[in-house]
């Protein structure tokens, strides 16, 4: 176990991803959910870069770069929505937001 094996980063990525998913599933605070989503995205980035490292190709890294850019955009919009939501509804409890149900 003295060499840095691909399994390492894969398990790290999987673990973080699962934690993020569980967070999203269980937490009721919108912002925490939002953070969990960011965590899941980072987990994905880890696996991308891990594979780029393993197969010494840069596509993984390029992809991770794009993911980060898009994640940033997503965060901005997400937070904007949350801001609007809290302004209008004054709560961040996701369960109270039930308009989608007719």
């Amino acid at each position: 176990m003295n060499e840095l094996m691909p399994e390492h980063f894969m398990f790290l990525s999987a673990a973080l991803f699962i934690i993020g998913m569980v967070g999203v599933l269980t937490r009721r605070n919108v912002l925490v959910i939002f953070m969990c989503v960011e965590l899941m995205l980072t987990a994905v980035n880890i696996s991308f870069i891990g594979f780029a490292w393993e197969f010494s190709q840069l596509t993984g890294q390029i992809f991770a770069l794009f993911i980060i850019a898009i994640a940033a955009a997503e965060a901005v919009i997400g937070l904007g929505i949350i801001m609007a939501l809290t302004r209008q509804r004054d709560t961040v409890d996701i369960d109270e937001v039930r308009e989608l149900r007719q």
Partner: protein
């Protein structure tokens, strides 16, 4: 070279523990801090995986900008007032954890029994050094094969900024639905004399009704307190 593995395990251990802490914390700010720790560790892992540029970008973009924004919003929502609703309904929690574990098992199986198909590419460690480092290598690859995705990302970012602008601006006409109490909206970035007329003037009756349980602090924009030259002239004319 066991050190490398050791360091890696250490970093990933911290990352995983802080991630777990993040979803366990009662106070969202604490979980935000836990997330910061996770991201820093992840950045360190990136460096170990010979992706320095991405590590730095991770720090600057994720931790430096996104998390800060999240903290922003977190704070704007009157952190001390956040109802303590740590966990969702018990049923959901059990299902959530259960599913997580199953997925973990599945991925573990997948990782352990994977068969490598792809063959290694050109960008080995010294390959990158020859070009001048990770940044130069990424620059070369990025601008040779991925010009279109870059344009697309540029468009996405543009759309995001416009969206943020739109969402950020509170709707003038929309009457906030009466809820438990009125939120003080702190407008952080309004230039002087912006067309955004502040929260509808609170009549005394309104305040009395609202102020019920706790002292209500209404932060006004600068305009209200500072009279502009035009206002003065107008005042004199009336």
């Amino acid at each position: 070279m066991a050190a490398e593995v050791l360091v890696f395990n250490l970093l990933s251990g911290i990352a995983i523990v802080s991630a777990a802490a993040m979803i366990m914390m009662r106070n969202p700010v604490h979980s935000a801090i836990a997330l910061v720790i996770t991201f820093v560790n992840v950045a360190a892992v990136f460096i170990m995986l010979r992706a320095e540029f991405l590590a730095v970008v991770q720090i600057i973009v994720y931790t430096g900008a996104i998390l800060v924004l999240i903290l922003f919003v977190l704070m704007l929502v009157n952190p001390d007032e956040l109802p303590d609703f740590h966990g969702a309904r018990p049923m959901q929690q059990i299902f959530g954890f259960g599913l997580g574990i199953i997925l973990l098992a599945e991925i573990a199986v997948a990782i352990l029994t994977r068969t490598v198909v792809a063959e290694p590419g050109p960008w080995t460690e010294d390959g990158m050094a020859a070009v001048g480092g990770n940044v130069q290598a990424i620059g070369q690859v990025l601008y040779s094969g991925y010009v279109l995705p870059i344009q697309a990302t540029a468009l996405v970012l543009l759309a995001a900024t416009i969206g943020a602008l739109f969402l950020g601006r509170p709707d003038e006409d929309e009457e906030p639905t009466p809820s438990r109490r009125t939120v003080a909206t702190i407008s952080l970035a309004h230039t002087r004399g912006s067309d955004q007329d502040e929260i509808p003037a609170l009549s005394s009756a309104n305040i009395k009704h609202e102020a019920g349980d706790r002292d209500l602090i209404m932060a006004r924009d600068a305009d209200e307190f500072t009279s502009t030259p035009e206002d003065d002239q107008k005042g004199q004319q009336e």
